[in-house]
Symmetry: C2
Subunit: 465 residues, 2 copies
């Protein structure tokens, strides 16, 4: 039987250790490096980029298996694109969308299928309430909202049932939970939902393509943001395949133990989702509030599937490629073809409850179920994709789900204050700690920069011994 | 700065490694040892007993800072008491209970305060529904109940609001959530609540003193069960202060790495709460369903407080010492004096949401708040306790909460099947995996014995290579 490899420790010294080379850890590192601090990033994977991962299909076209879109209000990402000289292009959205209901594909325009007039008005008034609430949440302290306890005691599903009266509106509102959070509406604190919408600038901005969260895509893949950031750091400061398992702090500093190295630093930034940060061992142990928080921010479940065709044939039928379905595989479809339309790619998502059973089946089964749905949507031409690729983040040991950690009822009000508060020399980054575009790359960058700023202030006030 | 101690590994070989020397791990070990198997138990703490912990007060009287009661339907605990020759005595319950509401202490008989007739009937019909549902849950597969999805989508608070119409009944039903689960009613899947009640034999059995879950106490402390079990195992097989961090399995066996030792075994039983089991590193990594489960079973929060007086003076006023309060510290009070009444001890619990803010304050503050409440209940004699002791399990690195892991909405139906299913050579014990008295010592024992039985079957079918 294979035994654990011997642990031969070398040690390194630096000002700040960073755990995780996702966009949050890298953004923190950049800011610290620019401020003249020495930094070591310990990354468990053999690559940078966290929940962004770009891969070439067999025809050479690069697709994103993780985060892939950028919108104009995501100012940090937009700025970094410019600095790195990355190329983006508008998400294709010409033509009608489709809703597959009971086997029939109905054309519609906009984000959500046309509902009958009563349902449509019902949905509009519910979204108006959501927008107003989202705008009222103090993004740095959702628990301080005057109605926080009541909003946090309620699930999103419970709120929907109390605030939308038609089946159509309820369906549309519940559909947003897996699409946005990759969990079911019944699993989410309603306070978390309105906080999240608020952090993104509202429901409309979050769900929109043009001008919203899905505005543009990356020609060479979104992971280019991370590889670009890493390349600009001093050589040797990003250490791959270093799995951190223990952080020890005392008056003098902090020691971060990884697979083959121990880093001694003045501060550490843990740029991991809270559920993964909770798996490290800390000495002294985490205070109860912080530990309890990490027990209560599970990651969602999503399977991302791509089907490549010789051409984006649906465009000839004046279809945008966007579709919502009442099927499990996929529930949501987008046109994910290259900018020049030189091949056709349909992107499908299976998220939340259905993803949990479908992740236990084989890629062949998922491919077959996906193709069946695409044929119902786009006709016989969808029957024979040239290539099928998929990714399930919950299978990744160092992500354990996506798109982000979510809050069940009660977590924000009791444990929210522990989400960002440093514990001595340990600072928390990761998109889950962001106050803008929480759950997105933009949030990851904001969180990393905030953590780095906190560390710089702490270093200002504690001169090197 | 102190650095991590060097890891000097010695290795041990045995048939079965067990992680955790709580009542579940020890019960598994006993059964395996009796079947002729060699066993090594790795325990992170410097003691056995897990969430049982008995301590002498300064007058020598032993109290339990963790689990402390046993009831007649807890057959494994009752049997072990007999085998070990431990002494128990009936919980004191002569006289009236008190309900402290708006500063007034009202006498009542039974478990719950007298409600007006309408509220009383309302409560009775709600509890009847709970009992019927609890009796209908398949305890080994709650997700297989015909209404499982619906029950799991709902919080316990949501069910209460839909099924009790009076403020009195709602208050009493919601009060049970912190008392039983040490979380708020709004945080619990309703399916989990009825499963839990069902596993204990119903609401009445769980909440009752005489004949129920609080029937009797241990003269020398409940931890005697664990020290007794450990003492009956072969010398040297329980290794203390060995923190397991990694489990590697392959075709040939399993290797369990702890602080200073690596154990090579044919199987391993992980007898930890799921949230702590999720913090170990596994090679190969846990399958998605199992990992997702461990992200979704947070421990509750409870602070257990004891106030010692020269005598159990409340007994002279024909008071049982039992009280429910609308205060935060404590919410629930029991007479916890020794069998002979040679001193008086009042036991107070602060659980759920109030415990989360009160755990951040000082012992002196908790003591003062507790005394203030006890004076309102029992008069001026309660003002000057001779001794105050307290315990908060959420502060313990190797428990991280109590009484047990709980399920938020949705967890049972999506992830329940991964709760007990072994992953290759890794088997799961711990009271959270029990089908009887889940969350109790009885459940811990049942779970340990079930895991041991599973391992024995596996060993039967795979002869030593």
């Amino acid at each position: 039987m294979s035994s654990a490899p011997p642990r031969i420790h070398s040690t390194l010294k630096c000002d700040v250790a960073i755990v995780g080379a996702g966009m949050s850890g890298l953004s923190a590192a950049r800011l610290l490096f620019e401020a003249g601090k020495s930094v070591v990033i310990l990354e468990a994977r053999d690559r940078v980029g966290g929940r962004t991962l770009s891969k070439a299909l067999s025809n050479g076209f690069v697709v994103d298996m993780g985060g892939q879109w950028v919108g104009p209000t995501q100012q940090r990402v937009v700025g970094l694109i410019r600095q790195l000289g990355l190329q983006t292009f508008k998400t294709y959205q010409t033509g009608a969308s489709l809703a597959l209901i009971d086997g029939a594909a109905l054309r519609y325009d906009g984000i959500l299928p046309n509902l009958d007039e009563t349902s449509g008005l019902d949905l509009a008034q519910a979204i108006e309430k959501l927008e107003a609430l989202a705008a009222s949440i103090p993004l740095d302290a959702p628990w301080a909202h005057p109605d926080a306890a009541e909003l946090d005691r309620m699930t999103y599903a419970e709120w929907i049932d109390a605030n939308a009266n038609t089946q159509g509106a309820r369906w549309a509102l519940k559909f947003m939970a897996p699409s946005v959070f990759s969990v079911d509406a019944s699993e989410l604190s309603f306070l978390h939902v309105v906080f999240y919408f608020g952090s993104c600038g509202g429901v409309d901005v979050l769900t929109a393509t043009e001008g919203g969260g899905q505005d543009s895509r990356f020609v060479d893949g979104m992971q280019g943001l991370a590889t670009g950031l890493a390349a600009a750091l001093p050589g040797g400061c990003v250490l791959l395949e270093e799995v951190v398992d223990r952080i020890v702090q005392d008056q003098a500093g902090v020691s971060v133990r990884a697979t083959s190295i121990e880093v001694h630093a003045r501060h550490v930034i843990v740029a991991l989702p809270p559920t993964l940060a909770g798996r490290l061992r800390y000495d002294p142990p985490m205070p109860p509030l912080r530990d309890s928080l990490t027990q209560r921010m599970p990651m969602g479940t999503a399977i991302k599937m791509m089907f490549r065709y010789p051409t984006p044939f649906w465009r000839a039928d004046e279809l945008s490629g966007m579709a919502m379905t009442d099927k499990e595989v996929p529930q949501l479809v987008y046109d994910n073809s290259p900018a020049d339309g030189s091949c056709g790619v349909l992107l499908g998502f299976t998220e939340g409850i259905p993803a949990r059973s479908w992740m236990q089946r084989s890629p062949d089964e998922r491919r077959a179920a996906g193709v069946e749905t695409l044929v119902q949507l786009f006709g016989a031409k969808a029957a024979e994709p040239l290539e099928y690729v998929e990714h399930s983040w919950v299978s990744e040991e160092f992500s354990r789900g996506c798109y982000a950690g979510t809050m069940p009822p009660g977590a924000w009000c009791s444990f929210g204050p522990a989400l960002r508060a440093n514990v001595g020399r340990i600072h928390w980054a990761g998109t889950e700690t962001a106050t803008v575009w929480n759950g997105y790359v933009e949030g990851a960058m904001q969180a990393g920069e905030r953590a780095a700023t906190d560390v710089l202030s702490a270093l200002d006030h504690r001169p090197t011994p």
